[in-house]
């Protein structure tokens, strides 16, 4: 019964989604708007009387603004983004961090989140440490990072997964709806970096794997409408299975002990 109703809701939502905004996939060079009534936004360019798409992605028209939301591509750092990176080098005045962008990023001592012993920087952050950091500036010689701010810290334990950075808005969902559902049902704490690196830490590896599965599902189906609900249904179903499995295991253990 519940399944039927949920299916109905989904189909209704899909219909609504389609009528609300028709999303068109465009290839580079395609004419997406004609005339002077439209303004070219991200991923588009004006050429004479026409606006053309500059990259492969989803076309979105809001009033007068035309833009293309990319579906693939490398992470391009922007000032103010919170990202998750790995320390790959320690220098005399800071750390070099790999944030998955074309250029490497630098975190100076002065921007560190706690007191640093200048004689040995590895005491604070060592090679291969994972940190949540914020982009302070992007210049031609590289990216500068800061760790002064709320929630910026080094990460201990947990699991890292990498997704395409263009899928990050989907993983987060509208006002965090998607990531909150995953957090709620799996009981994991999740940090999503704008660079597509996601950190998970849950009560057990099974819970983390379940959250990973849910995120993979979101990433692989970027066009589905009403995905948040689908993810909730999927997660709750899997969680039940997980519980049953755990119970079975415990039963087996008990039996084994009895024998």
């Amino acid at each position: 019964m519940t399944e039927k109703t949920s299916k109905k809701e989904e189909s209704q939502k899909e219909e609504q989604g389609n009528s609300e905004k028709e999303r068109i996939i465009v290839a580079p060079g395609e004419v997406v708007a004609e005339g002077k009534d439209f303004l070219p936004g991200d991923g588009t360019k004006r050429e004479g009387n026409e606006i053309i798409a500059l990259r492969f992605g989803l076309l979105e028209k809001n009033d007068k603004l035309v833009k293309v939301i990319p579906l693939s591509g490398a992470y391009i750092p922007r000032v103010g983004n919170t990202v998750i990176g790995e320390v790959i080098d320690v220098t005399f005045n800071g750390w070099i961090v790999d944030i998955g962008s074309p250029q490497l990023a630098f975190l100076p001592i002065t921007e560190c989140f706690k007191y640093v012993n200048k004689r040995d920087l590895t005491e604070t952050l060592d090679f291969h440490d994972i940190i949540v950091t914020k982009i302070k500036s992007v210049k031609s010689r590289g990216v500068d990072l800061t760790m002064k701010g709320r929630g910026l810290k080094d990460l201990q334990g947990g699991m890292l997964i990498r997704v395409n950075p263009t899928r990050v808005p989907r993983v987060i969902g509208r006002a965090g709806s998607m990531v909150n559902i995953i957090k709620e049902v799996t009981g994991c704490s999740i940090i999503v970096g704008q660079n597509g690196v996601i950190w998970l830490k849950g009560p057990s590896v099974d819970h983390e794997l379940l959250a990973k599965e849910a995120i993979d599902m979101v990433v692989e189906k970027p066009f589905t409408e009403g995905l948040t609900e689908k993810v909730r249904v999927f997660l709750e179903k899997r969680k039940k299975e997980l519980k049953q499995n755990v119970e079975k295991k415990e039963e087996k253990k008990d039996k084994g002990e009895e024998k």
Binding site: P28, G29, I52, L54, R55, G57, G73, P102, Q103, F223
Partner: protein, 243 residues
């Protein structure tokens, strides 16, 4: 046999290409990839980047560099090809880079590179054209900003007939003149941008009159327009299938 009425062995019209197959997303670990084939000429292309450019002396602080790498796999031809770079592949890599560069919008990513690796799986003439087509699709698939696609085709003159998309058999066509066998084929690989129809590649192997060359270019334009449509369709197809 009169030269004017050259009949193609596979029964194609003079302006007809071989069967074209185009797909994107064929290499999972690449940032973007594509497959393109003209009948028996098959090419795959993989794009990596934009990423940090090494060696450092090649870095350009103003823009991102495009680096293409064309190679034929050893089993792609009848006689085993010695693997590794050769004089021929170096030249084709260079002209491919020059053919693709005009459509790319690579400003604003200093000291980085976009690497394109083109591999020929099976060769039956005009592999560089198949390679360029695959590379253009792979670049779009990788989300590299570009103001259009690049489509390439080889136009040939066999005897006096101008035909599109030569096969190896046609490339080796000879006529006997005074008891001597002479090569009577001109091969002209060419590439056009999908917006504005600008020529980005034009090579010529053989002899041709200026008027005939103009005719060949006009035919190339016509054929490339069709190829560009096929490419654009294939680029858009990838994610719909996943849904």
């Amino acid at each position: 046999m009169t030269e004017k009425t050259y009949k193609r062995a596979d029964g194609r019209d003079p302006d007809e290409t071989r069967k074209i197959e185009a797909r994107v997303g064929v290499i999972k670990n690449a940032d973007g990839s594509a497959f393109f084939s003209f009948g028996g000429s098959q090419a795959i292309a993989a794009v990596y980047g934009p990423r940090q450019l090494h060696p450092q002396h090649l870095q350009n602080p103003e823009k991102c560099l495009l680096r293409c790498n064309y190679d034929m796999l050893s089993f792609s031809v009848t006689e085993r090809k010695r693997p590794g770079p050769s004089r021929r592949s170096a030249e084709i890599s260079y002209v491919t880079t020059k053919a693709l560069e005009p459509v790319l919008q690579l400003e604003g990513l200093p000291n980085t590179v976009v690497d394109v690796y083109i591999m020929i799986l099976q060769a039956d003439a005009s592999t560089r054209c198949a390679g360029i087509n695959a590379a253009a699709m792979a670049l779009a698939n990788a989300g590299i900003p570009m103001n259009g696609l690049v489509s390439a085709v080889s136009i040939g003159k066999i005897g006096d007939t101008i035909v599109a998309d030569l096969t190896k058999e046609e490339e080796d066509f000879t006529v006997t003149k005074g008891g001597e066998e002479i090569k009577a084929v001109t091969d002209i690989p060419m590439a056009f941008t999908s917006r504005g129809n600008k020529i980005t590649l034009l090579q010529l192997d053989g002899k041709i009159k200026p008027e005939e060359l103009k005719e060949a270019i006009a035919l190339g334009k016509k054929v490339c327009k069709k190829i560009a449509e096929i490419q654009a369709e294939a680029i858009k197809k990838v994610d719909k299938d996943k849904d």
